[in-house]
Structures are given as structure tokens and as C-alpha cells.
Symmetry: C2
Subunit: 562 residues, 2 copies
Amino acid sequence: MAFSRYVGILTLVAGCRLPSGVLALWPIPTTLETGMTAVTISPTFYFDVQVTSAPADLHEAVSQSQYYLENDKLGRLVVGRGANDTTALASAKILSKLTLSLTSSAAAEPIASEAVKPLGTRSEEYALTIPADGSAATLTANSTLGLYRGLTTFNQLFYYYGGVTYTLLAPIVITDTPAYPFRGLALDTSRNYYPVADILRTLDAMSWVKINTFHWHITDSQSFPLEIAQYPELAMNGAYSAQEVYTASDVQYIVQYAAARGIDVMMEIDTPGHTAIIAATYPEYVACFDATPWSQYANEPPAGQLRFALPEVINFTASMLSDVAKTLPSYYFSTGGDELNTNCYANDYLTQQQLNSTGMTLNGALDAFTQTTHGALIAEGKTPVVWEEMVLNWNITLSNETIVMVWISSADAAAVAERGFRIVQAPSNYFYLDCGAGEWLGDDPAGNSWCDPFKTWSEAYTFDPLANLTEAQYGLVLGGEQALWSEQSGPQNVDPIVWPRAASSAEIFWSGKQPTGAALNVTEALPRLHDVRYRMVQRGINAIPLQPHWCAIRPDACDLYA
Amino acid sequence: MAFSRYVGILTLVAGCRLPSGVLALWPIPTTLETGMTAVTISPTFYFDVQVTSAPADLHEAVSQSQYYLENDKLGRLVVGRGANDTTALASAKILSKLTLSLTSSAAAEPIASEAVKPLGTRSEEYALTIPADGSAATLTANSTLGLYRGLTTFNQLFYYYGGVTYTLLAPIVITDTPAYPFRGLALDTSRNYYPVADILRTLDAMSWVKINTFHWHITDSQSFPLEIAQYPELAMNGAYSAQEVYTASDVQYIVQYAAARGIDVMMEIDTPGHTAIIAATYPEYVACFDATPWSQYANEPPAGQLRFALPEVINFTASMLSDVAKTLPSYYFSTGGDELNTNCYANDYLTQQQLNSTGMTLNGALDAFTQTTHGALIAEGKTPVVWEEMVLNWNITLSNETIVMVWISSADAAAVAERGFRIVQAPSNYFYLDCGAGEWLGDDPAGNSWCDPFKTWSEAYTFDPLANLTEAQYGLVLGGEQALWSEQSGPQNVDPIVWPRAASSAEIFWSGKQPTGAALNVTEALPRLHDVRYRMVQRGINAIPLQPHWCAIRPDACDLYA
């Protein structure tokens, strides 16, 4: 991909820090050059889509970008919120259009198709220029997905004061490409249910910071809100109510909505643990269902795990997983595999009978279960994704293609890498958004969050995706994600508990480093993250203030040693 | 006050625990007797107000109660959400009205007048009966305020299933009176601003759990959002923006809205610390304004404290405080007094010059400042309220009537009591709602919340208002409050960070104990608090789930040792 380089008077952002509240892109692009000229958006500004057979979702993305350009109305985060810019704006050049084009003249694919291609084959890169002379801005990419990423950047360039939408830093030249292909957010919709509208709003916010994977932990032991055509009883009996179900059409709508925003939906149906509620439909498939004391059989109530040694359970699970997976465009599907409790099977008659009659060990049975269920997914063209225990705690033969999610501790990535698997970094000690909210179990007033303390955006931001890995292993790291587990969350707090914190991993895995080449740095990042938060609020997301507003408009004034 | 006792077949709730999800009052009343008969609300149900010259706000309260009765539509928190109640409901008696009356035939005062009387002189008690035979329910009280409290209880008695609003436990006989006169919630509207609508919504939720004091920490060092007629520049220069101001009419509207819901607004203008932003208007009144490093001069940025030794500052402060206080109906006004940093004055020329010329110590100057500012409030008929440092860290002569708020630690109440002052319990180690959200200062990614960990509802619920006090000192405890400091809060998260947690102190200070006489107990309380939360959600408050919904409809199943 070759971009013609802009040859104007530019400030190369290398070794220097941009004035805060002037340019606050997030994630920060790969290269960034800026000038010192004010440019305002023309009242007749338009997006000139010079794309052959532009797909409908590109036109929709352009309309959305136009909407944000007109409605963000975000004042710069400085004292006065832009009141001091009026002199510069009086002599500003006027930008009349942004021209979008692809580097190839081949017919463009929809964003939604580009977004769900295999990791490593998507083209998210783009080049964006805003000239200082009022001539057309340009956005160029190899794919509609790249154009989409560029549009989200374009919208972050502009501020509003006194009826004028503007930037002060033209000419602006950006080239941008992600450091990692997988940049996710995980949401658990089983412990508590989230209406579809809340998921759509979350997808919007994800798209603004270039998160490209929605890891949908859709079921768990507490509820089974997923309607599956071939197994309708699972949701009928397992959802919290008939209203708290993701119907097949809901899922398709969410998947399509996500894909049009550059987001792949990687669904997880956690097995063989985290499945107690399946007993409401198939009691004979579940061991130790609701056994007490629950803590002897599960990490949280209710106890209950699939009897994975039984042939009928293997068949059911393989069939159910592939029935779901084949309805989804994503190449990736997670079968979970975390927190399997062996006590659950120790006195389970059906399991022990099966093990005795076959001479299998529990590990052997789990291996057989996994090979069959994963085999069913692979037969559908899917790549299985599992939690780390499946490679670290059990001796199971997994396809080399299997992707392993590290969650218990960031220290565990090295052991996963040693086994040669590709990694998604989701370590609880940096990335779990639910940590720090206190014990949720009853009758434990002195209890604390199991993964206390709260993971601030800045703690998360210090995560090093390559820590403890050898250079030869770096290529195994596909990216990472922050995760919201919903024991104490629901639609009531999803916005404030997720945003703007989840932007931390979005930048770690998109940018990797600053445009200067320096490592990411919390002090540099904070003013930009304030900007993310204030823009989210303007767009209707209940993102929390990270600091008093006094601090947000005075970059660095509230640093620990300021 | 004499109530005729209901003489039916009753289950006296003594020594036994009510079936969960059947009756979930919060705060739990003083006495409570229940039967086992289902009673449904008639489609023509009405409130029969048998009150001479019933004030307009009582009629409004009745309309609100009617609205909740019709619109709460809360299913019982049991599996099936009431589906198993249909048999009982088929033969249920039908309740046609609730008769409200006062014990005295004297002309009734408005709720809003009763709510702002001096502590100890308000009558909040009431008696409520729901007969089992379908005859009229009755609510009796000494005051319209008592009737208001009874209405909030009445609304908590009913559940909804399949088009029917009902209770299963008639006859119900309740008598109820608060254990403590002061039950508050504090909100800081300076670090970040809350629109009026968010405050009104919070007042509504407070009223549902019988909280009777809104402690409005309206100003601080970061912003001064209060419009004061005599000092308009303070808000003009000190508010975050012209839109982020509580105008005089906003304040009156909030105060009236609160009072009509039985809530007294106790405003705090924190002095002489926490006043940096006054420098935006009167730079000569503020020492060490925005001095760096801020940590040398203040507990958080920006530094800046009133030059309380200067006569003109004393006059200004006394005048400003009394100008504000006289617009408010409350007998109580807080002058703050926390976290005064003496470094700020050590090299402050104007302060040192004044001390030198008068021969006063800094303590002496603070004493003089306090006596004058408090004197101005007392002259307006107000009782001053201060934070604990004013009696524990300084040697100041305060009026015996002064109320002292304990905040640094619950252990400090004993020292305040030793000095003979009345106490409001607001200890950070139990009641600060902002704790546990991580460090908010910049450039400190490993930093943690200063008052970590998060104070769960159950930790707060174990607070003993009389701990470490002698019996002779018990009478000094007026009550207590939970508090939200807003470094990391705003309208985006006020609901989920406050609710349902702030109901914990509401019950501690209203109920004090269970109707059985036993101490409050987190295991007994949890199912009822789930009920509070679910009802709040039905009424539009974004209260967080305390547990997975699976747990909420299965009382005790998710206890630590269940």
C-alpha cells in the first residue's frame, strides 16, 4: 500500500508532545504529522465517496460520521473550552469535503464482510490528510474496513465552539495500522441480562476506539438467554424470563450491527463447566446440579457441570455448538473451558459408571469431549477458542489453530506460549472490569472482591502484551481484551463500569506505542482519554469522569506529583 | 399517640423470619404483624384522605403513591415471580381504599413544613393496617410527615403478577417510628456537576427508603456552582460553565421538592479549606492558590484556602454564609472545616502579617473566624454543623449546639462524644460510596483508592452507631449518612454508585434493629435489599444488581456458606 506523502510545512510528532486539548486521537495513530493552521468545517461539508460500487454499509458509516461531525459539539478540554480560539478561527480556511477512496479499483466489499475475515487477513489500515489550504481532505485505504477506521479517526479531529466545528492543527497527515489484529471487549450476559439496545450502544462505543471483537459470553450457569432453533427449550427453561432472551433474529441483528461497525462477534458458550442451567432442560446431562455447599462444586453458585464423559452429552454439546456457530459469520467460537471443578464428578454415578466401563480417566474423557466438540466447530470452518486452563490444567490434544485466552494472571501467558498456542490477553489482574466492587456473595460483609483492587484505566494501560515472552513467541499474541463479568452488573451500570476504561486495551492493542516510537505512557494518555470520555458523553454514553472537571480541562494539573 | 390495635389472627413477627420475597419492607418497621391471606388492589382503589385542610403536598404525595401502586408492577423475587400465587389470588379479598387520617383534628401542616423542623421535634411515626377481609386499609399518624412515611411503606407492600397487584400477608399491622432523627445522604456537586434533574431523581429514591436529610456539599475547591444573589461573581467565575450553576431558583426548587418528600436540605459551604475557586473572584482572600506541588498545600488539587485571619475574609465569609443560609428553610447549615492545611499559611505574607500585627496564633485566628461565621449563622436561627477536625484537631470554642460529623474513621466518634457534641456518623471506613474506585490522580497507575476497599452495602450495614460510646453518650448520636464524593462521579454513574447501597444507612438509622428486637443482620437483609433494588429499577433508578438475578430470586442460595 503506497500513500502519496503530503509535502507541506509539517510538525513531525517525534520526540515532542502535542499541546493537550488540541489533538486527542484515541487510539493514537501509527504516524502523525500536524501543522498550526486552523481549518473549519464548511456548513456544506460533505463526504465524497469515490469508491466503485460502494457498499450500503459504507454509505451508512459515512452518514454516521456526518452525524457525529455535526452533533458531537465537543468543546476543547482547556480552560474556556475554545473561547480563546476565536482569533485563529476568524482567518481559518474552510474544509468542504473529505474524499474517500480505495487503493484498488476492484469492487468494494461491505465493511461487514471485511470485519469478519480471519485474523491477519483483514486490512484495517488507512491514510488520512487534512490540508491547511482548505482543499479536500482525503481518506484512503485498502478496504472499506480501513475507510471505516479512518472515519472514526476523522471524527476525533474536530472540536466545537460558538457554532463552528474546527481543528487548529492543519495540515494533518495520518497513517495508521493496528499493532495487533484482535482488540476485544468481553461481556457476560448470563449472570444478568442486557437488553439488545444496551449491547448495540456498547458496540457503538467500541467502534469509536477501534475495538474489533465483541467477545459475547452469552451463557453461563445462571441463565441461558440464547435461543437456539434446534434446542429451543434451553432458552425457554434457562432464560430468566421470556423477555430476557436473545432470539435468533436478535443475534443476527447484533452480529450485523457489529460487523457494519468493523466488529466481529466471537460468541462463547462456556463448556463443560458454567453450564448448570442446562439442567433445567436436560437434568440428565448435568452433574452436581445445585449441589450444596456450592463452594465444594463450583466457583460460584449454582453448581452444575455437563457430564462430559457421557456419549449423549458429547453429542448434544457438539451438535448445539455447531448449530449456533454455523449461524454466525465469525471464524471464531469459544467453547470456554474455565474453572472445571473435578469434585463435581467424584461422586457422580453416571460419570463414574461411564469412566469405569470405558477405563477412561476424567482427563481422557475431557480430551474426547473436547476433540468431538472442537471437531464439530472445525468442520463448520470455525477456529476454537478456549480459556487457559484447557492447556495449562489439563492434558488435552487441541488443534494447533486453537486460540487460548489468558485470564487468571498475566503471568500465565508465558506457559501458554511455551505450548505454542496463539494468545488473547485478558488477564484479570489488569483487564477485569468487575474487580474491586466488593464481595457479592451473601453473608460475607467483610468479604472483598476476589480480584481486588479495582483496575483503573491507568493500571490497565500499563499492561505489556509481550511481557515474559521470548521474541520468537511475540507473534503468538493476537491481541487482548477487557472483560465485564456481570455478577454485579447489568444495563444499569454497563456504561459507567466499562467506559472510558475499556479504551485502555483498545489503544494498547491498536497503537502499541506512541507515534514517536516511545512506549505508551499514562501521563501522555490521560488528557486524550478525558477527550474520549467527554466525546462519549456527547454521544449518549454514560462514561464516568476520570477526574474532577477542573482537572480534565487542565492537563497534568492533577497528576500525583504536579 | 395511641393506635387502636388490630385484633385479628396475626403472625407476630418475633423470633421468626418472614418468607423471603413475600414482605420486603425497607427500612424494616418497628413492629410488624402479618397474616396469611391474599388481598388484591381493586381497579377502583383510591386513597381516602380524611385530613382536615389537607395541604397540597399531601395530596401530591397521595397521587405519587397511587402512581407507584399502579406502575411499580414488581414481580415477587421468587422463582416464577408470582406465577405460583394465582391460586391464592383467585380467592383473595379486594382492597378498595386506604384511609389516611391524623391523630389530631388540628389543621394539618404541609409535609414540607414538618420535614424541616428541628431534629427531635418532627413526628415521622405512623401506623398502617391492611385488614384481611377487604375492609379499608388505614394509615394514621401525628403529622403529614408521618403519613408520608406510611405511604412509602404502603407502596412496598404490593407485588404484581398477571395484571393483579396484591399482597399475600394480610392482615398486616405496622407501627413504625425512626430510631434516629438524622438519616442522610451527602452529595458533592463541586468536583463534578450534577444537573438538577439528577438531584431530583436522587431525592425521589432517598424518600423511598425514608432518608430525611440531603447533605448538599455544594461547593469545593474545584468549582463554585452556587448562585448567591449578593455575590453573583462566585458562580460566574467559579462554576464550570454558565450552564453548570445552581441558580437561586434551582436551589429553591430542589429544597421544596425535597421537603415535599420529607427531606431536609442541609447545605454545606466548606470553609476555610476547600475554597480555592473563590480565588477566581477574590484572589486576595485565598492563600496558596493553585500552589505547586499541590500535595504540599492541600489534600487534592487545586490548593487554595481562605485567608481566615484577615478581617475582610471573616466578614466576607460570615456575610456569604448567612446570605445563603437565610434563603433555606433548614435549621442546619454546615460550614465544613475539614482538611485545613497549615502549610498553606506558613509562607503566606498577608496571613503572617496579620498574625504578627495582632499577636494571634493560627489557632486563635481560626477560633475568631469560626466564632464570627458561626455567629452569623446562629443569628439567622441556624445550627452550625462541622466536620470532626474542628473539634479534634483545633482548639476552638464552638456553640454546644454544634453538630459534628465523623468522617475520617468510625473510631473518632468516641473522642467527639467526649467533648459533648452531637454526632452525625459519616465514617469513611463504612459509608463513603466513592471508595474502591482506584486512584484518580494522574501519573499513578499503581495507586489505589485512599479509602480502599469498596464499601459494599453489607459492610456498611454492619456499622454500629453506638460503638465505643458510653450509654450516657448514646443520646449524642443523631444518626448518620452515606456520602458520594465526586472526583470520579457525575450524573453518568450517580444511580449505580449510590443505589441500592445508600439504603444500608437508611435502615441502620431508621430501624436500628429488627422487629423481633434482634440486631440487624446482613443475611436477613439481603432479600429485602434485592427488593429495594428491583423496585427502584421499576421506578427508573439505575440501581445495580447486587448479585446475579439467579440469586436474587433464590434467597440465601448465594450466601458464602450456602
